[in-house]
Amino acid sequence: MLRRTFLSLTLGTAMALSGAFHAAAQAEELTIFWAEWDPANYLQELANLYTAETGVTITVQTTPWPDFQTKAFAEFNAKGEAFDMVVGDSQWVGAGSTGGHYVDLTDFYAKHKVLDSMAPATVKAYAEYPGNSGKYWSIPTEGDAAGWAYRKDWFEDPMEMEAFKAKYGYDLAVPKDYKQLRDIAEFFYRPDEKKYGIAIYTDNSYDAMLMGIEGAIFSYGGELGDYSTYKVDGILNTPKNAEAVEMYKQLYGFTPPNWGKTFFQEDNQAITENLAAMSLNFFAFFPALANKASNPNADVTGYFANPAGPDGKQHAALGGQGISIVSYSKKQEESMKFLEWFIKDETQKKWAELGGYTCNKAVLESEAFRKATPYNEAFYQTMFMVKDFWAVPEYAELLTQMNNQIYPYIISGEGGSAQAVLDTIAKEWTETFKKYGRGG
């Protein structure tokens, strides 16, 4: 009897200990899910510093961009615990919060005064939902927006400068507005020399081409709709927005051949392979252009913020992501501790040094950051004039509807006119909002 009791006690203790060890081992590992790109590697490097400080191992798990949204939401919908945190796209905040996939970080924001340390535009875009509600669901992580790279050597060539001035009546320089952007694109469009004017996004999957269109619409003073009332008709389909879409279509006419399905890789190739004078891209992809190993033209590549529209208004389409804690994770406490560490000024400084686009106000405004790379100044300027797409849970439907109308018009002129295309999108978006009971 005594032997049996002793055996039971030993077994029980062993099981309890193994359970405790297992729990401890579990708590010491966190998984962050993000898309497969350089910033994810930088985040892994940053997380390694956290591991060195605390002993908590962090793995940044990645997947190619086209699968990112699908994989993340498949895991959310299954209420899976595969990821403790996710660096989700700005548009996901609505679906992530209303779907119950993200942990509410409003108290975290108040306790750690996050609003004081992060750039307001980034908090609004990456963290707050619904708009102006004061409820926050993520920490701005990778600030990003659409900007432009250009060939300084082409722009500064005296013969080109002279020819340009003779043709257009003003100096060849970084374009101040979309009209100048178009003129320069037209000027350098020389198919016989295998030189082209401009490289823009034309991929109709997800939000690729729409980022370019949005940039034009926002700078032309337009909006995609009223984000608080969900009114679209009369806001999206204005003559000004039609002009912006028409401008994007004209720019497509000065792109290299076979430019009908291009995204960040092709737009960077346009610079590295001497194809185009100017190239649209997210700032997150500019480190590759500044690196001589990946861009033989790195020394002669310059950068500028999205130009203004005809009325002088200047805006850019927002990219970027915020980090959220997944509500199905069993390690939410440990994840909170990581976020606490992540928002510290010194961590954000390190994040920027590694190559991450910090959203920390102090770091962004510092001279050291603005001069750290050839594109940081343009990034700094851009982050104060960004605007974003709808962040409602049904944003993917809105993207599809816009892509379905805009893409055929830009690429092959289908749909009649830019105005007709925008009218159709406005009608479809209104129906979609009505379907989901938004806007009364």
Partner: protein, 299 residues
Amino acid sequence: MAGLATLHPSSKAAARGWSDLTIRNIFIIPTIMFLIIFNVFPLIYSLGYSFTDFRASVNEPVNFIGLANYRELLNDPRIWNNFWVTAKYVMVSVFGQMVIGFGLALLLNRKIPAKGLITTLLMLPMMMSAAVVGLFWRLLYDPSWGPLNYVLGLGNLAWLSDANLALYAVAITDIWMWAPFVMLLSLAGLSAVPQHLYEAAAIDRAGSWYTFFHITLPLVSPLLLIALIFRTMEAFKTFDIAYILSTQPTTELVSIKLYKFAFQEWQTGKSCALAYIVLIMVLAITNIYVKYLNKAKER
């Protein structure tokens, strides 16, 4: 129990007292359970979802909306456009596979050197993963550095960016991949045609066209129809190759639309309804083919 073999009295199963019925059940029940859990149950469950406004991405109550999803889909001209694109794709792709596959089989049915090696090499495409084939052909089609334009002297022809060409480019890839399947079935059919029929035709001085249309084709047609059924069903469901090769609206097959509804827009109820519409269409087409197959067998 005439049809079933009985247990040998000295076998282990008999020694354990297992009857024929028990052993049959041991083999059949796991398979049936597997089919019920992974095929039948999701099929019925998704049928239920198709009558609701269920969205898997949000925690909202699911409402029964009757036939609204079906009505919305069948009244949507864009969905009909997806079906039209799919129909064009199926016709071009399956026609190409049948002609090329059967043609190759006719060539290989003759006495040629290294016939075994050639047959094996020709079958390689269908052994590859569709994702690999898609990526491989994307490189081949590239207008700047793809070898296809260079070899055919087509300049900078943008196979995948040209809205009018993209669907044919996808169909060509599918033909390349699956014509060997038709070839294989046709070869089996051709080798089963009795030689004495050809000898009799030769004695009667029948021409080669006459022999082909009155001996070869009728005798191979049941197998050709089977190939046609399989390839039509598969082509109707094509997703991977088209998804990898092009995102043009002109190549948006109904399966791609279904994927977008289900996993990009998370309109789960609506996507279930579309899946059922596709299922009914595939079943209808298959039934027509099977009817012809039965007629061909009777001849």
